[in-house]
């Protein structure tokens, strides 16, 4: 338990060091690239929470990312001010997750069905947004733009002052700050009574229900919580590019989140973040040369990890390699002791 807490503090300190150090030491281009990575790391965190801790097979997490991104874009264009737009961008996915989750969890459907329904929902949202070209599809002043997406979305400004738009370095501070806050907040949720019950449901839903907890309710709230984090990631992602298109709803984006979590480590919070950084770096280097297709690489990574490392890298190191090393040295020292005796 203590080692877990040490890990948490170490991660927070490392995050704060990165928060301060990156703009000081790196050029503008790298800072901007890393800001995009961080936004997707927040997204990976939402997937890591809902799948790894609540045990909900959300295979369409991109639906919430996209809803957050689009709601933010539409609200920011209409309000001309980014702060309330952020709130809208988080609230809309939460409400949507509440509705969808109600039907899924109160129907008590199996895990496979949850996976398929979430996935189908994201596919259909993708098709829906894709078809919204033309003047008929406007929300206030914002044209949804169909396949072309929404160009020149107003980016974050200092609250209350729409003229004071943040520069890339400030955007880095906000994005990275959000990642650290989300990490701390999810950690706090998991340490709370609510988190304990949620994890217990993942382990044995029947037993928890027999103890008098309404598993459906806990699952629903956890699902909505993950949608809030994914929505925030959507806001940050839109701010990073100042542009949003329907591809954010694509299955490949949901698959990315799954892969980040699977590679980094299921049932940890730091794993998804590390997975997101390493794999995005990998994918951006693949993207720069044209021989390998990004889908090809992602698919191969997914298959290899499901077959060979189904728990991910962080738990592999924590549960297998680390004890093995300890055991090795521990065993040797005890043998030595016996020899001495």
């Amino acid at each position: 338990m203590t080692s877990k807490r040490t890990g948490f503090y170490a991660a927070v300190v490392a995050g704060i060091v990165a928060l301060v150090a990156v703009p000081q030491t790196m050029d503008m281009f790298t800072v901007m690239q890393l800001t995009g990575f961080v936004a997707m790391a927040v997204f990976a965190l939402s997937q890591g929470f809902v799948w790894g801790f609540a045990g909900i097979m959300s295979f369409g997490q991109a639906a919430f990312l996209g809803l957050g991104a689009y709601s933010y874009a539409v609200a920011a264009i209409n309000f001309g001010e980014s702060t309330p737009a952020m709130a809208v961008g988080i609230l809309v996915p939460v409400i949507f997750a509440g509705l969808l989750g109600y039907f899924m969890f109160y129907g008590r459907i199996s895990d496979a069905y949850v996976g398929v329904i979430t996935m189908t929902t994201s596919i259909i949202l993708f098709n829906l947004i894709n078809s919204t070209s033309g003047d008929a599809y406007r929300v206030g002043e914002a044209a949804l733009g169909g396949f072309n997406g929404i160009p020149s979305v107003p980016t974050l400004n200092i609250p209350g002052d729409p003229e004071a738009v943040l520069d890339p370095n400030q955007l880095w501070y906000v994005t990275m700050g959000c990642l650290i806050l989300c990490y701390i907040a999810l950690h706090a949720v998991l340490r709370s009574r609510f988190g304990a019950v949620t994890v217990a449901i993942r382990e044995n839903e029947t037993r928890v229900t027999l103890l008098g907890y309404d598993a459906r309710f806990y699952k629903l709230v956890a699902f909505m919580f993950s949608a809030a984090v994914a929505g925030l990631a959507g806001c940050l992602y839109t701010n990073w590019g100042a542009y949003i298109s329907p591809t954010i709803f694509a299955l490949a984006i949901s698959a990315q989140a799954i892969i980040f979590v699977l590679v980094g480590g299921l049932g940890t919070l730091i794993g998804p973040i590390l997975g997101a950084f390493v794999l995005q770096w990998l994918m951006s280097s693949v993207g720069q040369q044209s021989v390998l297709d990004a889908n090809l690489v992602m698919g191969a990574v997914l298959i290899v990890f499901v077959l060979l490392v189904p728990k991910g890298v962080v738990p592999l190191i924590r549960d297998t390699l680390w004890p093995m090393l300890q055991h090795r040295f521990g065993a040797r020292s005890s043998l030595e002791k016996e020899a001495h005796e």
Partner: protein
């Protein structure tokens, strides 16, 4: 009146299309309780087979009904041997693995054949319903769907193979004790499911663009139909298709095809709330 006729024809073709794109998924789900997320990509392989084979001069009927299922089925067989058989009993991992496979196939086909959409024309012409011209290819789809559904039903009900398959489906441990090799049955089932996907892709190729990402256009509807249908392969697929197609076509007719798809999804979500196991999880439980 003509409009009603047109709508009725569209609903009929819609039912046929749903049956056709779902039956392969349903065979694998009903038998093995696995959702094959690469289903759309096996369809896409079937469609590419048809485009390439007809391009090479093969008769289009042969490529649609023979080559497309053959190629997809062989690929499914290879997939089962290399990938799926390591993952039986780990339902979520099988879904993830097939998802990875789906991305892998999309990527591979994009690298090999490029990103552009290819077309192929239907071997049959048009017919008219009053003022409206409709493609006769819809009838090809409906007949193929009926054929596929009937074939699966007959094999399951009347052959010894079908008996073994049904026994394994009900109680694989008992079947295994009686000398059946469930692994063989699973292998055959997976190959059959992917072959049916290939057939669907091949038959639908003339009315849809053939591109690496074409699977995504059908997969949402196929998932919805399987969810609504529940565990019985033939009855479930048939009933759910008959239920969802009118919803889809009527809403599409009043609004847009995309809204029609949304209406189908909403209907499916409500059905799943009322009948968590799908229609055949509650009704017609003893059917195939």
């Amino acid at each position: 009146m003509e409009l009603t006729g047109l709508l009725a024809y569209n609903i009929l073709v819609g039912i046929g299309t749903l049956v056709l794109i779902t039956i392969g998924l349903g065979v694998i789900f009903g038998m093995m309780k696995i959702i094959n997320l690469a289903h759309g990509e096996f369809m896409m392989i079937g469609a590419y087979t048809v485009v390439l084979a007809t391009g090479a001069g093969v008769n289009i009927w042969i490529s649609m009904f023979l080559l497309a299922p053959l190629v997809s089925g062989l690929l499914g067989l290879i997939t089962e041997r290399l990938l799926m058989r390591h993952l039986y009993g780990r339902m979520i991992d099988t879904m993830l693995a097939t998802w990875g496979l789906s991305l892998l196939i999309i990527g591979a086909i994009t690298v090999i054949f490029g990103n552009q959409t290819r077309g192929i024309s239907s071997p049959v012409g048009n017919m008219s319903i009053g003022r409206f011209d409709v493609g006769l290819h819809g009838m090809v789809i409906v007949l193929t769907a009926i054929g596929a559904l009937a074939a699966v039903a007959c094999v399951l009900k009347f052959t010894k193979l079908g008996l073994i398959v049904r026994a394994t489906m009900q109680n694989s441990a008992m079947a295994s004790a009686l000398g059946v090799a469930p692994k063989r049955v699973y292998m055959g089932t997976f190959a059959t499911g992917t072959a049916l996907a290939g057939l669907a892709g091949g038959v639908l190729a003339p009315i849809s663009g053939v591109a690496p990402t074409m699977g995504a256009a059908y997969i949402a509807k196929a998932f919805i139909t399987v969810l609504g249908g529940g565990p019985a392969i033939v009855t479930g697929t048939g009933l759910a298709s008959t239920l969802f197609s009118p919803i889809n076509e009527i809403v599409s007719f009043k609004a847009t095809p995309i809204i029609g798809e949304v209406a189908m999804l909403v209907a499916a979500i409500i059905i799943v709330r009322l009948l968590p196991q799908g229609i055949t999880g509650r009704f017609f439980r003893r059917s195939l």
